[in-house]
Each structure stands twice: as structure tokens, then as C-alpha cells.
């Protein structure tokens, strides 16, 4: 009750300031508030601009140039030629496809597993803290460290998983399909808990009374889940998916350790990186960087505009 009042007041207040800006000279209070707002945001804004905005612009500029560090003399403006080169290149599209497969498959599994784990963490009557602590281990562990664990687990002779009679004799990390499966497995293991935590926050906003009411209305447990819980959790699910999809598209660490892009497992990040650092082709590498950024932006746009995901931190994401 009190909360609600306080909030509504909070909401009115920002509007109130706007008027003053338009017409009247600001009072001392408002003026100092604005000044303080800018002042407090300044350091963060400066760092973000210097470290990202400038490199982004620089990246776009590089992408319009022929610039290979191995042949620095041939540097020159080539317009969109790099884009044409990349977009007509089969390697780029293969990397694109690989990335999408990894993203879609791992996120799909994570959603189902994450929902299950979220349910366990939310509802367990036994050792709630224990389960949550356990779930945080994969989330917190350094990806590279975990990836080496997976690599050795699947290395013939060395690994306990490679020993399993199911695929005895073969080396899973040397074939495309099994390599992909292992990469996806490593991704799923590491990030399912994160997904589960985001979903758990969504579960927490479904009032217990609603479940009881639905039960009184004759809904079975499954019906309660699909007709009551899921619809109410939709915003949470969308946010969790947005976070994870954007993260999965950037997949790098696991692939680097497990295959380093060998046997047709090179993702966009790996391909871009190889062109940049190993290949030293800044022009092409930057073009790929920009294209990757565009890919990510399109995905985010689709989520926010088409599915109506509340952008994290946006005005309407606050408490409601």
C-alpha cells in the first residue's frame, strides 16, 4: 500500500521537472539535481565512449580500407569492397551457420533445462541454499578452465567420457558433428544455471495464491504450469532468452579451447579473430567485426521490437 503510493509519486516527479525546463527558470533544487545527474554519469560515459565508441568508429573506418599488416604499403580506401568479399565468401557464411546452430541448439536446451533447474531451486523444500550454491559453480567458473576439463574428458585415453564404450576408439573432437555436440554441451553446462537464475526471478513474481486459485478451479499441475505460470513468466523468459542469445552468438572461449575452429566448428567470433590477430588482415577482420555487430544488433532489435522484450534498464522495466 505504502509502496504503491511511493512509487506513483516517484513516477510523477520526473515529469514535473520537464515542465520547468521548457518554460520557467529552474529552481535551485532542480538545477542542482540535473547538474549532479550529469556529473555522476560523466565518468562512466567518458570511459564507455573512449573505450568503445571510438574503436567502433575506427573499426568502421578500417572496414572500408584495404589494410593487411603483412602488406602495409597496399593500404587504401576500397569502399564496400571488403563487405562484398566477406559476404560472398563461403567461410563467412559457414561460420554464420555454425554460430546459429550453436546458438539455437544450446539456448533451446538451456531454456528447458534452465526452467527445470529454476523450478527445483524455487520450490525445493530441502536445502534451498545448497542447490543454489551448487548451481552457481558452473556460472562462476572460468570458461576456459571448464573448457579444458571438457577437452580432456573427450580426449581418447585421457578422458573418462571418451572411455565410454558408446564411441570407443574414435576421437570425438576430431569430427565435425561430435565436436559441435561437445561445444554445445560445454556451453549448456556453463550457462544453464545463469538462465535458471533469470527464470527463477520470473517464477518468484508468480503469486503463490494464483497457483492455489488455479488449483481450486480444477487445473492440473501441468495446466497450472502452462496456463498460469508460463504466461506470467513471459517477460522473464524473453529477457533470459535475449541475454543468452546475445551471449551465445559471441561464443568464443569454448571453441578456442576445444577445437580452435578446426573440423568445421569455426564460429563468427573465431573466424573474425583469426583474420584479425592471426591473419593480421585488419580490413577484412574489421569488416567481419562490423558485420557481427550488425548481426547482434538485429537480434536485439527483433527481441525488443518484435517480441516486446522489455529492454533491461528501460523505463518500463522498473517495478510495476
Amino acid at each position: 500500500m505504502t509502496q504503491a503510493t511511493v512509487q506513483s509519486k516517484t513516477r510523477v516527479a520526473p515529469g514535473g521537472a520537464g515542465v520547468a525546463k521548457a518554460k520557467k527558470p529552474l529552481s535551485d533544487g532542480k538545477r542542482s539535481e540535473r547538474k549532479l545527474g550529469w556529473l555522476l554519469c560523466l565518468p562512466a560515459a567518458v570511459v564507455m565512449v573512449v573505450v568503445t565508441i571510438y574503436p567502433i568508429v575506427y573499426s568502421v573506418m578500417l572496414s572500408l580500407q584495404r589494410y593487411d599488416l603483412r602488406f602495409p604499403d597496399k593500404r587504401g580506401f576500397v569502399g564496400f569492397a571488403n563487405y562484398a568479399t566477406v559476404l560472398t565468401n563461403e567461410f563467412w557464411w559457414r561460420a554464420f551457420l555454425i554460430t546459429m546452430i550453436i546458438t539455437v541448439v544450446s539456448v533451446a536446451f538451456e531454456l528447458v533445462l534452465g526452467m527445470t533447474l529454476a523450478m527445483v531451486m524455487h520450490r525445493t523444500v530441502l536445502g534451498k541454499g545448497f542447490v543454489r550454491t551448487l548451481a552457481l559453480i558452473p556460472y562462476g567458473i572460468v570458461t576456459v578452465a571448464a573448457a579444458y576439463g571438457w577437452q580432456y574428458a573427450w580426449t581418447p585415453n585421457t578422458g573418462y567420457l571418451a572411455q565410454l564404450p558408446l564411441w570407443s576408439g574414435s576421437a570425438p573432437l576430431t569430427h565435425q558433428a561430435s565436436s559441435m555436440a561437445i561445444i554445445i554441451l560445454a556451453e549448456i553446462w556453463k550457462t544453464t544455471p545463469f538462465m535458471a537464475l533469470l527464470l527463477m526471478a520470473g517464477l518468484a513474481v508468480v503469486p503463490e495464491e494464483l497457483q492455489k486459485a488455479a488449483a481450486m478451479d480444477g487445473a492440473s499441475a501441468w495446466q497450472r504450469f502452462t496456463k498460469v505460470t508460463l504466461p506470467l513468466m513471459k517477460p522473464a523468459i524473453l529477457v533470459a532468452l535475449l541475454f543468452r542469445v546475445l551471449d551465445a552468438v559471441r561464443v568464443y572461449d569454448n571453441i578456442y579451447v576445444l577445437t580452435n575452429g578446426a573440423n568445421g566448428t569455426s564460429s563468427l567470433s573465431i573466424t573474425t579473430y583469426h583474420n584479425l590477430i592471426s591473419g593480421l588482415n585488419l580490413g577484412i577482420g574489421s569488416t567481419m567485426s562490423v558485420l557481427m555487430f550488425i548481426t547482434v544488433a538485429v537480434i536485439a532489435f527483433l527481441f525488443i521490437k518484435v517480441f516486446g522484450t522489455a529492454a533491461p534498464g528501460s523505463e518500463n522495466m522498473g517495478r510495476r
Binding site: 512509487q7 516517484t10 533544487g29 539535481e33 545527474g37 555522476l40 554519469c41 565518468p43 570511459v47 564507455m48 573505450v51 568503445t52 574503436p55 567502433i56 575506427y58 573499426s59 527445483v120 525445493t124 523444500v125 530441502l126 545448497f130 542447490v131 552457481l136 559453480i137 556460472y139 562462476g140 567458473i141 572460468v142 576456459v144 578452465a145 571448464a146 579444458y148 576439463g149 580432456y152 585421457t158 573418462y160 553446462w189 537464475l197 533469470l198 520470473g202 517477460p235 522473464a236 529477457v239 546475445l246 552468438v249 559471441r250 572461449d253 579451447v257 563468427l268 567470433s269 579473430y273 584479425l276 567485426s289 557481427m292 536485439a300 529492454a311 534498464g313 523505463e315 522495466m317 517495478r319
Partner: protein
């Protein structure tokens, strides 16, 4: 809550056990590898037959892991500290104050949060080389601050929003300047959120790999995860398995400690920023 029946207990025990196996087996496997004697790496057993701490001794004495570990700790701590300080300022402004440009600030943070780090590697590589930041601590601290800032700003501003708004009005009525209201009322109440956010930011910095391998070339600034990737074993002809596993365990230990101590906070931090709609 109803009394927990034995059956419920049993079924939840099973569920909890599955979660435990899920979370622990891969970690225990690395631990097992790190404790195996060199001759038994290829026996494929989950539980080591011969136990040794030699791998741990080796990575510090022969493998030169000390320096990368110190780099990792120093860089992550400094980056986290700076990100928290400037992130707290920005989060306070966004959660509490009214000023034009707020949306821009949030939008820019979101942009950076979803930005593929690899896309930044080239230009940063170029820029850092030309201004001498390449392969230095600040050369990594800067991108780390930047990429933890969105997390910091979002998580903290959602924590700050939980603080009753009227308290600040009350402080103003009690004669406080905006800064006094911030320092004496908001900061003490925000501390738990700040600590939580700092842990999350630290984990993020600790975890980074892309920047670490791209923006460093020697052990003078290379962090632990990157160093592991460059492990070749104690000598050139030796299998690095034991060293890599031992190093992986070493960098996992701080995470485990954090998780054990701050489980509640990490959970609340991860869930607070993301889902409120």
C-alpha cells in the same frame, strides 16, 4: 507451509542430487586431473590412482604461473573497483535523479553489454599498440571497466530503486544537500547492493579470455586464463595436461569461495537487474 512428508523429502533429495552431480562432476574431473601423477594421465580413470600435488608445485615453480595469477588478481580488482565507483555514481543518477540524457546513458550501456567483444579487439589492438598500452595492466583494465560498467549500472540501479524514495526527500527536508543525502542516507543503504555488484563484476573480469589473449603478448600483463592457453608443459616435450588442470583449479578456487560465502547475494544480484517487468 505444510509439513514435509518423507516422500517429498525423498523426491527432492533425488532432484538435489542430480543438480549436485550436474554441477560438480566436470569440476571434480579437473580436480582429479590436477592431482594425477604424470604417468597416469592417460589411464582415463575419473578417480586418480596415484595422488600428487606436483602439478600445483610445477605451475608456480617451473611454469611461471605466479605472474599471470598476480596479473589476474590485480587487474580484476582494480577494474572492479573503478567500475564500481563510477558505476555507482551513474546508477544513482539513473535511479534517483531526473536529468536529460538518462535514456541515452542506458541505451549506450545496453549497446555495450550486447557488443561482441571480438569486434573491439582489432581497433583496441591497433590503438593500444600506438599509444603504448598494449601488453600492460591498464591496457586490460580499461576494456574490463567498460564491459563491466553496463552490468554494474543495471544491477546497482535496480538495487538503488529498492531504497524508499521518500528517504531522500526526508533527508532534503532535514536539511541535507543532494550530496549529503547521497553520502549519509543512500550509500549506507546501498552497500549490500554494491558488494553484490562488485562480486559479479569481479567474476566477469576474472573470466575474460578474448581481451586477455588479444591485448597481451607476454607474462607482464597476461592474465591467468590466457596463460593457461599458452601452457606447454614444464618442458617443451612434456604433456601440459597436469599443469593446465592444476592452473584451472587454482583460478576456480576464488570463484568457489565467493559462491560459498555470497551465494545469497550473487543470486539476488543476478536476478534483480534482469527481470522485473
Amino acid at each position: 507451509m505444510a509439513v514435509v512428508t518423507t516422500r517429498q523429502k525423498a523426491s527432492w533429495s533425488v532432484a538435489n542430487t542430480i543438480v549436485a552431480l550436474y554441477a560438480l562432476i566436470p569440476v571434480l574431473w579437473i580436480l582429479s586431473l590436477s592431482l594425477k601423477e604424470k604417468s597416469t594421465f592417460t589411464d582415463g580413470h575419473f578417480i586418480p590412482r596415484g595422488w600428487t600435488f606436483q602439478n600445483f608445485v610445477d605451475i608456480f615453480q617451473v611454469g611461471g604461473f605466479t605472474r599471470p595469477l598476480l596479473n589476474s588478481i590485480g587487474i580484476a580488482v582494480i577494474a572492479t573497483f573503478v567500475a564500481i565507483v563510477i558505476g555507482t555514481f551513474a546508477a544513482y543518477a539513473i535511479a534517483r535523479l531526473d536529468f536529460p540524457g538518462k535514456k541515452l546513458m542506458l541505451g549506450a550501456s545496453l549497446l555495450i553489454a550486447m557488443f561482441p567483444q571480438v569486434s573491439l579487439v582489432t581497433p583496441m589492438f591497433q590503438v593500444e599498440r600506438s599509444i603504448g598500452l598494449f601488453n600492460t595492466w591498464p591496457g586490460l583494465i580499461l576494456p574490463y571497466i567498460t564491459f563491466t560498467l553496463p552490468l554494474t549500472i543495471y544491477t546497482l540501479s535496480s538495487f538503488l530503486r529498492e531504497i524508499p524514495w521518500e528517504l531522500e526527500k526526508a533527508a532534503k527536508m532535514d536539511g541535507a544537500t543532494p550530496f549529503q543525502a547521497f553520502r549519509q542516507v543512500i550509500v549506507p543503504l546501498a552497500m549490500p547492493g554494491v558488494v553484490t555488484t562488485a562480486i559479479l563484476a569481479f567474476i566477469q573480469c576474472w573470466n575474460d579470455f578474448v581481451f586477455a589473449i588479444s591485448l597481451t603478448s607476454t607474462n607482464s600483463a597476461r592474465t591467468a586464463p590466457a596463460a593457461i592457453a599458452f601452457f606447454t608443459g614444464a618442458s617443451q616435450f612434456e604433456d601440459p595436461t597436469g599443469s593446465i588442470a592444476a592452473a584451472a583449479i587454482v583460478i576456480t578456487i576464488p570463484i568457489i569461495i565467493f559462491v560459498l560465502i555470497f551465494q545469497r547475494r550473487i543470486v539476488s544480484g543476478l536476478t534483480s537487474g534482469a527481470v522485473k517487468g
